[in-house]
Each structure stands twice: as C-alpha cells, then as structure tokens.
C-alpha cells in the first residue's frame, strides 16, 4: 500500500446519528485498491451503518466519503460504482437465479449476447450453472449466498461491500466459502470491504482489519499487527485469548523496560513501547501461546512459579490455567510435542510448574 497516491477509498471524519443516538463516531479510514478490508466489531457497533453509508443508503451526518477520488456526497445508490451483498442476501424471490444475476446488467448499454455471456461467466464463477433456471426457494442457503455474490459482481463494480457474508452459513460451509470468497476476490481484483463480528473470519480473510467499538474505530492494521501489537486493552481482549495484569514501570534501559507485576510477585523484563516513562502505571498482556510451561525451572529471563488449576487436553495441544503467586490466573497454551503415557503433556492437575516468557512477548498497554 503506497502512502503517496490518493487512496482508493477515503472515509473522512464520517459520523452518523439516528436521532440523539450516535451509531458511527468520527471515523477516518483509507482502503487501497484490490484490498480485502474488514470491519470487525461486536453486534451494534455501527459496522452495517458504515457500510450503508458507503453504498449510499444512509447519508453521513458529518464527514465525507471519497471513492476513486470522487466525493460521494449526494450521489444516490443507483449511481455509485459500488455494490453490496446484503446480510439477508436480498435475493429477488420472484426471479430465477439467472434473472437475479442479470438484473443489474439491464442498466448497462451492452448487447444481449454480451449480457448472456456475462451471466454465464458469473454462473460459472460461483459454480451455479446447473441451477440457472431455479427459483430462489428451490436452492440451498449456501447457493443463495453465491447468487447474491454473483449478482453483485456481474456489473463489475470497483468496490464490493459484504455485510456478514458468511454469518448465515453453517460452520463447515463457512470455512469452505471463506476460501472461495478469497479466490474470487483474487481472480476479479475487486476491492472488498467485509463486515464481520467473527474475529477468526476477519483474520483469515483480510489484508487489513479495522476493529470497531461503539461507533469508533479503535485500531487499523494487518491481522498480524492487530494480534501481536494491539494498541489497547479493548483490541487485545477482542482478538484472541489474552491474560492481562496491572503493572508499573520501574526502570527503562535501552529498548527494555523493567516492570513490577504484583500478580506475579516480582519484576520482569518487557520490550518497551515509545513514550513510556519510569513510574508509569501500565497493563502487561500475555498471549497463552507465548508463555512456556515446564516442571523444571527453565533458564530464561522472565520466570514465574505457579500451580496448575485447570487443564483442557485437546490431543495435539493443551490449554492450562495456572494460579500465580498473587492468586490470579494465567492462560497457557502448550503443544503436546512428545508422546508417552507420562510425558504426553508437560504438566498435570495441581502440579507445581515454572512459566517463562520472552521480553518481546510481553505486550505493554498504556490505555
């Protein structure tokens, strides 16, 4: 994503109120051409509202939206180079699969032969050719989802908006469809903005994610950035499992910070973040898989003793909940790398264990 050129989509200080309720608050985002961009957040945080403003169904109360350099203010939905795939799919119930897909093409000045060719191409793209003549009530939910996708792609939009595209599908179909969506996006090169409340879906699907909370964008970044470098406790807690502990900065030396963590009854080394000051109250967060568990004391920088309170054995790996010296619990994830009746897992219930983590793995949060 080059920072120089005008971004494909620019959302500038956009807000939306319904009466006195602020559904979207001062959102600023840019999306590059050809990107899969996700809006991730819990139910009611304003994702759909933001999407509907891009499609033109809602007018922003404040701010402006640019698509391909063009200000979208006052441009009605039928004139925008944008198509939307609705959460309910919104298939026309009285038209066949084919007619649904062809619907948008009737506004394009192309010959009947070209139109038929485009419909055939779309049917092929979503593998629905044998179902072309069926009515919507004669096909399954997964197929309806693909009709909605083909219908939206048929007019070759610059931007496709997808509102919870997979939420109505069952788990198995969802995983399969996810990869299909990605491959269709790669083949067509259309920019996707996907709304989802499912963090795993966002992580797998997206080039970049915007995490939203109560109408605000809390962080924008690649899945790795969001997961490994969360900017706030909200984002850290929203994406993946994490244990957080109140702490205080004792001393700063180079890029390392010495922090006092009362829950662990000691001081530990952590990778410092810019702007940190000595004596500052902070939060230290640890991902379960970044903490090592052992029955013998390891040779590491950060070591803390604990006792296994709970464990869930999944075969290939195990999840532990370990009681720390201060009484708090920490989640630890370990791969069961060795085989044998006693050695299948590193520790058992009530075992005394040593936990260790790298200074770089400790996430310092200051919000």
């Amino acid at each position: 994503m080059s920072g120089e050129a005008e971004p494909f989509i620019r959302i500038e200080n956009v807000a939306k109120s319904f009466g006195s309720f602020q559904a979207v608050k001062d959102v600023n985002l840019t999306v590059a051409r050809g990107e899969i961009f996700s809006l991730l957040g819990g139910s009611g945080c304003g994702k759909t509202t933001l999407l509907r403003m891009l499609a033109g169904f809602e007018d922003p109360t404040a701010g402006r939206i640019f698509i391909d350099g063009q200000d979208m203010s006052g441009i009605p939905p039928w004139e925008r180079p944008v198509h939307m795939m609705f959460q309910s799919y919104a298939i026309f119930p009285h038209m066949s699969v084919e007619k649904n897909i062809a619907y948008g093409l009737k506004h394009e000045r192309i010959s009947a032969a070209d139109r038929a060719a485009r419909v055939a191409e779309m049917l092929d793209l979503v593998q629905l050719t044998p179902f072309a003549k069926r009515k919507p009530h004669q096909i399954s939910g997964g197929q309806r989802q693909r009709v909605a996708l083909a219908r939206a792609l048929a007019r070759q939009p610059k931007l496709l908006l997808l509102d919870e595209p997979l939420a109505a599908l069952d788990k198995k179909l969802r995983e399969h469809t996810q990869f299909e969506l990605m491959s269709i996006q790669a083949r067509t090169g259309v920019t996707f903005i996907v709304v989802t409340h499912d963090q795993e879906e966002a992580m797998t699907l997206s080039d970049r994610i915007a995490v939203m909370d109560r109408g605000e964008v809390r962080q924008v970044g690649t899945p790795t950035e969001i997961y490994e470098y969360p900017a706030s406790r909200f984002v850290a807690g929203f994406i993946g499992a994490i244990s957080t502990f109140p702490a205080r900065v004792i001393r700063l030396t180079g890029d390392l910070a010495e922090v006092d963590i009362p829950a662990m009854d000691g001081t530990f080394a952590a990778r410092a973040t810019p702007g940190l000051t000595e004596g500052q109250e902070i939060t230290v967060a640890l991902r379960p898989e970044k903490v090592a568990i052992a029955k013998t004391c390891p040779d590491a920088v950060n070591v803390v003793e604990g006792q296994v309170k709970d464990l869930a054995y999944f075969g290939k790996d195990s999840l532990y909940r370990v009681t720390l010296p201060g009484g708090d619990l920490i989640a630890v994830h370990a791969v069961n790398a060795r085989r044998g009746p006693d050695t299948a897992r590193p520790a058992d219930w009530d075992d005394k264990v040593w936990l260790s983590f790298e200074p770089a793995s400790a996430i310092i949060l200051t919000d």
């Binding site: 919104a90 948008g104 506004h107 939910g141 997964g142 219908r151």
Partner: protein, 279 residues
C-alpha cells in the same frame, strides 16, 4: 390429559348452524319445483332457466359486474398506493392522521358513508353541475371510496412483512425508485394485489346500503333488484339467483385466501432457508 372445551365447541356449532343452515336451505330450495318458496315439490332447475331468460335480472347483473370490475380495479390502484405509502414512507408529516383516515371507513357504519356520499354528490352537482344524474358513475365512485380501504389494509400488511433489503438491492444494482417499484415491489406484493382486488370486487358486487344511497333512476344493481323483489315476497327464482351469488362470492374469497396463504408459506420457507444452509 386436556379437557375438551365442550362449552366453546357447542357455542361454535350453534353459531355455524345459525349462519349456514339458512344459506344451505336457500340453496336447496333453489332447486325446488314448487312455486311456493317454502313447500318442497321435487327437484327442478326451472328457476335457473327462468332466471336466465329474465331481461331485468340480466341487465342488473351486467350493471353490477361492470361496476364491480371498474371499482375493484380503481380501488386496487389507489389502495395499493396508499398501502405502499403507509408502509414505506415512515416519517412523513401527518402519517398517523393519514393512517387513521385510511382505515376509518372500515368501522364507519355504511349508512353514514352512504349518506355522506349522497350529500357530497348533491353538493357537487349544485356547484359544478356534475353529476347531473346519479347512477352508474356515482355508484362506481362510492364503491371505489369504501372498498379501497380493504386493499390498503391487505397491501400494507404484505408490505410490512417484506424484506426491505430486496428493494435496496435493486437500487444498489442501478435501478431508480420507480424501476424498483415496477421490478421488485409490485411483483413481490402481487398476491396481495390480487386478493385485494378480489375482496374489492365481492364487496362491490353485494353492496346494498351504499348503492341505494348513491343510485339514481334506472340504475338497478343486482342486490338492489333482489332487495326490491323480496319486499314483494320470496320467489324461487330469487333463491336461484342468491345461490349463484353465494357461489361466486365464495369462490372469490376462497381464491383470495388461498393466494395469500400460498404467498405466506413461500415466504416462511424462504426465511427458513435464508438462516439455515445446506450446501
């Protein structure tokens, strides 16, 4: 074990008996060979034959059907517009008053509607000279006015169940609002339009009260004819005529009901599918 609500069932049976036995006996007696309407004289279809050769009845039937066709069609067009406006334009000024005014005729006594329409036509004639004479036109206008309400109600109900996003999807795919109406909204609510039309048709076909207020010399609809004949005593050909009307009206209502329930079943099936997927 559940106790059967014996009392309720008994009341229901009496209710049905009270309503249907007279209609059934009327139907049976329409095939009575005897000239006396209340004495059974053997099976015959001669009253139907005499009915079909009766000029007066033919003319009244023609007038009634013409009025019913025109008023049902106009009522469907106007009623659909009102129903769509009520369902779609949520925030317009005076929506509550509009909605109240639209449905008020449903509960207004027909006599009141009839009198007010009559007064209106008389005043209109005094001011503008039109309508010079009451008859076909005034009856049709009156029927449009009060049967439109039923269409509005049916269309409004269907519109509120409809998924708003299919109209938005059409707009999103490049259609202007009027194209959306033509391509999506009207086809989807078409079962409601058809059943609304059938309702308006039957209401117009059997109306006596409002018609008698708004009619003029020479314009005798079928119900008016029956009404005037019965005042001179029930004759078997009236039984035959009434039987035909009951059958026609019954078929219309059944068709309307069937159309609505089929559309409803389809909608439910679609909804179920939309939220459950199967490959």
């Amino acid at each position: 074990m559940t106790r059967r609500p014996v009392f309720l069932i008994t009341v229901l049976c009496f209710g049905f008996a009270f309503f249907y036995i007279p209609i059934l006996s009327m139907m049976v007696y329409s095939f009575n060979d005897s000239r006396l309407a209340t004495v059974w004289g053997g099976f015959s279809t001669r009253w139907y034959a005499s009915l079909f050769s009766n000029r007066q009845v033919g003319a009244a039937l023609l007038l009634s059907v013409q009025i019913a066709l025109i008023s049902a069609t106009m009522a469907t067009i106007l009623g659909a517009m009102a129903g769509i406006a009520l369902a779609r334009f949520r925030k317009f000024r005076g929506r509550t008053i509009f909605s109240g005014m639209v449905t008020a005729p449903l509960i207004m006594p027909e006599v009141i509607t009839g009198i007010s329409l009559l007064m209106f036509f008389i005043m209109l004639a005094q001011i503008t000279g039109w309508p010079g004479q009451r008859g076909f036109t005034t009856i049709t206008l009156a029927h449009i006015t009060f049967s439109m309400v039923f269409v509005t109600t049916v269309v409004h109900a269907r519109m509120s169940q409809m998924d708003r996003s299919i109209e938005e999807a059409a707009m999103d795919l490049g259609s202007r609002p009027w194209q959306v109406l033509k391509d999506v909204t009207l086809p989807v609510i078409s079962p409601a339009l058809v059943s609304g039309w059938l309702l308006a048709f039957t209401i117009s076909l059997d109306d006596v009260v409002i018609t008698s207020f708004t009619t003029g010399p020479g314009a005798t609809t079928l119900p008016l004819l029956i009404w005037s004949k019965v005042k001179l005593g029930v004759t078997p050909d009236i039984n035959a005529l009434a039987t035909l009307i009951v059958v026609t009206v019954g078929l219309c209502v059944a068709l309307a009901g069937w159309l609505m329930s089929r559309a409803e079943r389809r909608r439910l099936a679609e909804e179920r599918l939309a939220y459950r997927a199967g490959g």
